[in-house]
């Protein structure tokens, strides 16, 4: 117990250790590099492996291999690295690999501004690879949340056998804040479901499409298979359209059916509010100041802060939007999440974006002015 003054990236690394992570591979890239350096300090004393790979493709490749050999694995990069992870993220999806991927977002596209923040990768994370399967993405606003959500990301990865994104931002990852990590409430640790010994193991077995298959490690009790090719429940290549559809439905159903479990958000409603501010990540902090000031000035404003971005917490969004006239959605991008809000907004509700991506934070004043909260 006790207060520490640490940056978001250290909190992410410490959360990984808390969640039982024992394998990390990464390639240096600002603003994610200090996750690699923290993992280098933290994992070896716990008997884990931290390795700098020759490039981003190898980073995630190492992690997929280690995860399928029984490790709890994490990798971290920024937007340029996610571009290189893309194909392997698709592999991790259909291989049903538990894996935590941290994207410390920086101003893009391309090399962009290496040391400046943005939330430009929101829909990039959602549609990160070919095939269009659903993905889980969490977005922390503070150093404390970076800790909590990274820990939860491991739980989700193990519970649903899938890669999980932590969408941080330079402004969270490289800002130091006061935290007491031990005082942060965490759910119990989730360990992967393993098959009973002696059974005829099938690597992608399920009865109901949303059921998460048990996972036997390479080197474990059962001989197992893993493949990048379209495969059946046994992990064998198949060209049978019925089997192919069954597997695709399964990848989607296991995440869609878990939407309630995955939906993390903070809803702060005000009776009779005509305006709702929907925000996430570091911008939610300016939004909360804007909402507080608006309320002080007599305006009735509700606030919904999303920690889970994908799958979209649709129930929470619909409930919060019911009864308001306007929604204000500030984002450090050109309005990437606004399209999710707009498709769920009841008829007649207007959705106004407050958008900037000049590498600086959106201020409470801007949200108040452009969002007409004053």
């Amino acid at each position: 117990m006790g207060l520490e003054f640490i940056e978001g990236n250290e909190a992410i690394a410490r959360a990984a250790v808390k969640a039982g992570c024992n394998f990390f591979a990464g390639y240096p890239i600002t603003p994610a590099s200090t996750i690699l350096s923290n993992m280098l300090r933290l994992l070896p004393p716990h008997g884990g492996v931290t390795i700098q790979a020759e490039d981003e493709i190898a980073s995630i490749g190492f992690c997929i291999g280690a995860a399928m050999a029984g490790s709890k694995a994490m990798t971290a990069t920024s937007g340029p690295g996610i571009s290189l992870y893309s194909e392997n993220i698709g592999l991790a999806m259909i291989g049903e690999t538990p894996l935590v991927i941290v994207d410390v977002q920086r101003q893009g596209p391309a090399t962009g501004s290496a040391t400046k923040g943005a939330d430009g990768d929101i829909q990039f994370a959602r549609w990160v690879t070919s095939g269009g399967l659903p993905i889980i993405a969490l977005c922390p606003a503070t150093v404390a949340e970076a800790y909590e959500l990274t820990y939860r990301a491991f739980n989700f990865a193990e519970a649903y056998r899938t890669p999980v994104f932590v969408l941080s931002n330079k402004e969270v990852s490289m800002t130091s804040e006061v935290v007491d990590l031990d005082a942060i409430e965490l759910p119990p640790l989730v360990e992967r479901k393993r098959p009973a010994p002696g059974i005829d193991y099938r690597p992608h077995d399920f009865k109901h499409p949303s059921e998460v298959p048990a996972l036997s490690d390479f080197g474990g009790e059962h001989v197992t298979r893993y493949t990048t090719s379209t495969h059946d429940k046994l992990g064998f290549l198949t060209a049978d359209p019925d089997l192919i559809q069954e597997m695709i439905d399964h990848y989607a159903a296991k995440i869609e059916a878990a939407a309630d479990d995955l939906a993390l958000y903070r809803y702060d409603p005000q009776d009779g509010a005509d305006t709702l501010v929907i925000s996430y990540g570091v911008t939610s902090r300016a939004a909360s100041v804007a909402v507080r000031e608006a309320r002080k000035a007599g305006r009735r404003v509700s606030s919904l802060v999303l920690q889970t971005l994908f799958p979209v917490p649709e129930k929470a969004l619909r409930r919060a939007m019911a009864g308001v006239r306007r929604v204000v959605a500030p984002e450090m991008n050109l309005g990437q999440y606004r399209q999710e809000i707009e498709r769920l907004a009841p008829p007649g509700v207007t959705v106004a974006g407050v958008n900037r991506m000049d590498t600086t934070l959106i201020s409470p004043m801007e949200i108040a002015l452009q969002g007409e909260l004053q």
């Binding site: 933290l42 280690a66 490790s71 298979r225 493949t227 300016a286 100041v289 201020s363």
Partner: protein
């Protein structure tokens, strides 16, 4: 595993091998099977990792574990598996195509020398996609994408990985009588072992080029890519070396900060320190933030500096507040210290829009732009001369604290003595006292 020896490591359920008549892969898989049968490893402790291409069909024909990965990336999965479970035997099967697209991984695996065995099924073209040229297509070789003959020079895989440090390198051909024994040798070698196995692609390369067993042998002679053992060394295996390098690693200590002082601060304030690389701007800002925390305040800090870290500006922004800090940018600083020309250059636009509520602490010699901020000149250059440039930022921070009094100066001294490394405490306490002096002058 049962005590009875396994007669084969090929799966009966998988059926006959799927390769074209005369394809070298067929022979290679059978030789690998012979090798595995000689080794008698527990199939659960063996992972065959395959790349993309016809060779990628191979793993399912064995009773061992199988991992079929992305094109060119098979060595990366194998590396992850072997690092996570050193007791496993990991065999990678890749075509010449994979050696091209995965060239960086091939070089790195050789250099790293993790205990993997790589079998390259090298048939000089991409057999799965229609016979396009690869990194090993011989000069003049006709393929789907080199209709006039290949004008790129081929890559000598063995020489390349040997130069990169692979500790066991061998070149052979699928018709070699001792191939199974060579594969056994490669698997037994404790380090990165590569076997470059030349073979025929009867679907594409053989029909387009004069190529048969005799021509393969001739090609090796003509190109100087000799067969047999190419390199062998006993350099340290990566996994073992890594684990040894980590032995004795200690869990890092936490720096816990407990409230020890009081502060009368009643709102969030923002402090900016703008100086140069090498002036300890960041660490002085951290002293201020920690002092604030010692005084019961919430604090945030972010830093900005160019990628060439030893030159140019160094900028830190610190918020202190009796309440939880939400918004961390400082749009309206309360205190702004400019320590150097670099710091001034970086913040000139910002200084010009500082509000009148801000106090700007600047060295006497710095030519400031027009600003509404209240300017307080302090002798920072002289301080640097007296105490050294490592002391100037902390002196500036201490001058701000002494001048404004939002936390006691004792908290700064405590943050220095308690949290900074012993060898700099004395000098830094001197800098704090100098700062207090500067505030008075």
């Amino acid at each position: 595993m049962t005590a009875a020896a396994l007669q084969t490591y090929m799966s009966e359920e998988a059926g006959p091998l799927p390769f074209c008549p005369g394809c070298g892969h067929d022979r290679l898989l059978k030789e690998l099977n012979r090798a595995l049968t000689k080794l008698q490893l527990d199939p659960r402790k063996v992972v065959i990792v395959t790349d993309i291409g016809c060779i990628g069909l191979s793993d399912r024909y064995f009773v061992t574990n199988g991992f079929h990965g992305l094109h060119g990336r098979s060595l990366t999965y194998a590396t992850g598996i072997k690092l996570a479970r050193p007791e496993l035997t990991v065999i990678v099967m890749m075509g010449d195509g994979g050696c091209g697209i995965g060239g960086a991984h091939l070089l790195s695996a050789a250099r790293r020398n993790l205990d993997l065995t790589l079998l390259v099924a090298n048939n000089f073209n991409y057999g799965m996609t229609g016979g396009q040229y690869s990194v090993t297509t011989p000069f003049g070789g006709r393929t789907a994408t080199t209709p006039g003959g290949n004008v790129e020079g081929p890559m000598d895989l063995c020489a390349t990985v040997a130069a990169a440090g692979a500790s066991w390198v061998y070149r052979g051909m699928t018709h070699d009588a001792d191939l199974a024994d060579r594969i056994v040798q490669g698997i037994r070698h404790p380090g990165f072992a590569m076997l470059d196995i030349w073979e025929l692609c009867t679907a594409y390369y053989t029909p387009r080029n004069e190529m048969n067993k005799r021509e393969l042998i001739k090609l090796a002679e003509v190109t100087g890519m000799r067969t047999g053992a190419i390199a062998e060394s006993s350099r340290a295996e990566f996994g073992a070396a890594y684990r040894e390098s980590c032995a004795g690693a200690k869990k890092p200590k936490k720096t816990v900060i407990e409230k020890a002082f009081a502060s009368a601060l009643d709102r969030q304030i923002g402090i900016v320190v703008a100086g140069s690389a090498g002036q300890k701007v960041k660490s002085s800002a951290t002293v201020l933030a920690r002092a604030g925390i010692l005084a019961g305040l919430d604090a945030t800090q972010k830093d900005d500096y160019p990628i060439t870290v030893m030159t140019g500006h160094s900028l830190s922004e610190i918020n202190l507040s009796p309440q939880r800090i939400e918004y961390t940018a400082i749009d309206q600083p309360d205190c702004f210290a400019v320590i150097s020309e670099d710091g001034l250059k970086k913040t000139r636009k910002w200084i010009a829009r500082l509000p009148e509520t801000c106090t700007l602490y600047a060295d006497e010699g710095l030519p400031l732009p027009e600003t509404k901020a209240k300017i307080k000149r302090i002798a920072l250059a002289q301080t640097a001369k007296q105490l050294g440039k490592l002391s100037v930022s902390l002196a500036a921070v201490s001058a701000i604290v002494a001048d404004r009094g939002f936390i006691p100066i004792d908290a700064i001294e405590e943050a220095v003595s308690r949290f900074q490394s012993r060898d700099i405490v004395e000098a830094n306490l001197k800098a704090v006292r100098k700062g207090v002096e500067l505030a008075k002058s």
